[in-house]
C-alpha cells in the first residue's frame, strides 16, 4: 500500500510518501500565505520524487497545526499521535520524544508499541520555539546556522531574565550594547530556550531513550544546552528531524486502513 503523510506546520509543509514502511518520496516547502496551494505543490513534488502517479496513493493522512484545512485527507491525525508514531519508527527504543518546531514545542512519551501514553504541548510561548532563535539571530545580524554554532564556543553563563520572547529581544539588544560577545549571547539564548523546553518536557515522565526532532534538532547550540539542562549524555536525533510527524501520519494512514 502507498500512503502519504502531510504535516502542515506553521512554517513548513512536509510530505512523506511510503510504500509499505519504505520511504519512496518526500518534499518540503515553506507554508506561505496560500497554504492550500502549497500543500498541493508539496504533495506533487513528493509524488515526483517517488516516481509514482498521484492516483497511486491509496491513503492520505494530514497532521500539523493546519491539518483541518486539507480537504482531501482520508485521516486527520493530531501532531502528538503522528509525532509519537514517527519517532518510534525512527528508533523503537525511544520512549520520550521532544519536538521543537517553529511555533510550538511538545513532549510525547510512547510505550513499547509506539502508542502515546503521555503528552504536553506548549504552543503559546514563543520563547520555547524555533522562531525565537531566528529573531535573536536577526537581532545580532548573523545567520541562524552561525548563531547556533557560536553557542558551542562559549563557556559563559548569562541568565536571561525575560520570560517572554519580546522582552528577551530587548535583553539581547542590551547585551549587544554592553559589548557582550556574540558567542556568549548565543549561548545565553540557547540556554534560555533549553530551560523552557525542559520544564515543559518534565510534565511528562521523561523516560530514556530521549529523542529530539523538529527544526531545532538541527541546532547544535540548542541540543547541547538541552542535554546539559536535562543532565543526559545521550540523545537521539533522527536523520530527517523535520519529517517525523509526516512519517508518523503516513504510517498511521496505513495502520488505520488495516484496522478498518
Amino acid at each position: 500500500m502507498i500512503s502519504a503523510g502531510i504535516d502542515i506546520g506553521s512554517k513548513n509543509i512536509k510530505v512523506v510518501i511510503l510504500d509499505g514502511k519504505k520511504i519512496i518520496g518526500s518534499a518540503i516547502q515553506t507554508s506561505g500565505e496560500n497554504q492550500e496551494k502549497v500543500v498541493d505543490e508539496t504533495l506533487a513534488l513528493a509524488v515526483e520524487d517517488a516516481k509514482i502517479d498521484r492516483s497511486d496513493i491509496d491513503r492520505i493522512a494530514a497532521t500539523g497545526i493546519g491539518r483541518k484545512t486539507f480537504k482531501n485527507a482520508d485521516y486527520v491525525i493530531t501532531d502528538v499521535t503522528a509525532g509519537g508514531r514517527g519517532i518510534f519508527e525512527c528508533n523503537n527504543s525511544v520512549r520520550t520524544g521532544i519536538e521543537v518546531g517553529a511555533e510550538e514545542s511538545k513532549a510525547i512519551r510512547v510505550n513499547q508499541a509506539g502508542k502515546v501514553t503521555d503528552s504536553a504541548v506548549n504552543e503559546k510561548c514563543a520563547a520555547g520555539s524555533g522562531s525565537f532563535v531566528e529573531s535573536m539571530a536577526r537581532a545580532l545580524g548573523i545567520n541562524v546556522k552561525l548563531f547556533a554554532e557560536l553557542a558551542l564556543s562559549s563557556d559563559a553563563t548569562i541568565p536571561m531574565n525575560a520570560q517572554c520572547a519580546v522582552f528577551a529581544e530587548s535583553e539581547v539588544v542590551s547585551l549587544i550594547a554592553q559589548n557582550t560577545s556574540q558567542k556568549d549571547i548565543s549561548k545565553a539564548v540557547h540556554d534560555s530556550i533549553a530551560s523552557r523546553v525542559s520544564s515543559m518536557a518534565r510534565r511528562v515522565k521523561l523516560e530514556p531513550k530521549i529523542a529530539i526532532f523538529g527544526g531545532l534538532a538541527y541546532n547544535p547550540g540548542f541540543v547541547s544546552a538541552f542535554k546539559k539542562n536535562l543532565e543526559i549524555e545521550e540523545i537521539f536525533i533522527p536523520e530527517k528531524p523535520l519529517f517525523v510527524d509526516a512519517l508518523g501520519a503516513a504510517l498511521l494512514a496505513q495502520e488505520k486502513t488495516v484496522e478498518d
Partner: protein
Amino acid sequence: MIANYGYMDGSGEYYITIDTDKCVECEGKMCVTACPKALFERVTDDYDDDVVKIADSKVKDIRYQCMECKSPGHPVLPCIAACTPMALKHSW
C-alpha cells in the same frame, strides 16, 4: 494517555491534565456540561476512543477561562466535581 492541555508562560504553568484511560470509561462525560466556559469537548481521539479534550480555541487561555471558578467561594471546581472517574487535574 495522560494528556496535558494548556501552556506555560512567564507567569507560570497552566495545564489541565486528562487521563484518557479513565475518561474513556465514563459514559456521561458530565464535565462537558458542567464547565460554564464550555472548555471541554467530547471527541473520538486518534486511537478511536471516546474521550474529552480541551477545545483548541480555548487551550491558550485556560488560565483566564478558569478564573471565575477558581475565585473565592468556589471550593470545588465544577469540572472536577462532575468527573466521576477522577480523570481530571488542574496544575494551578
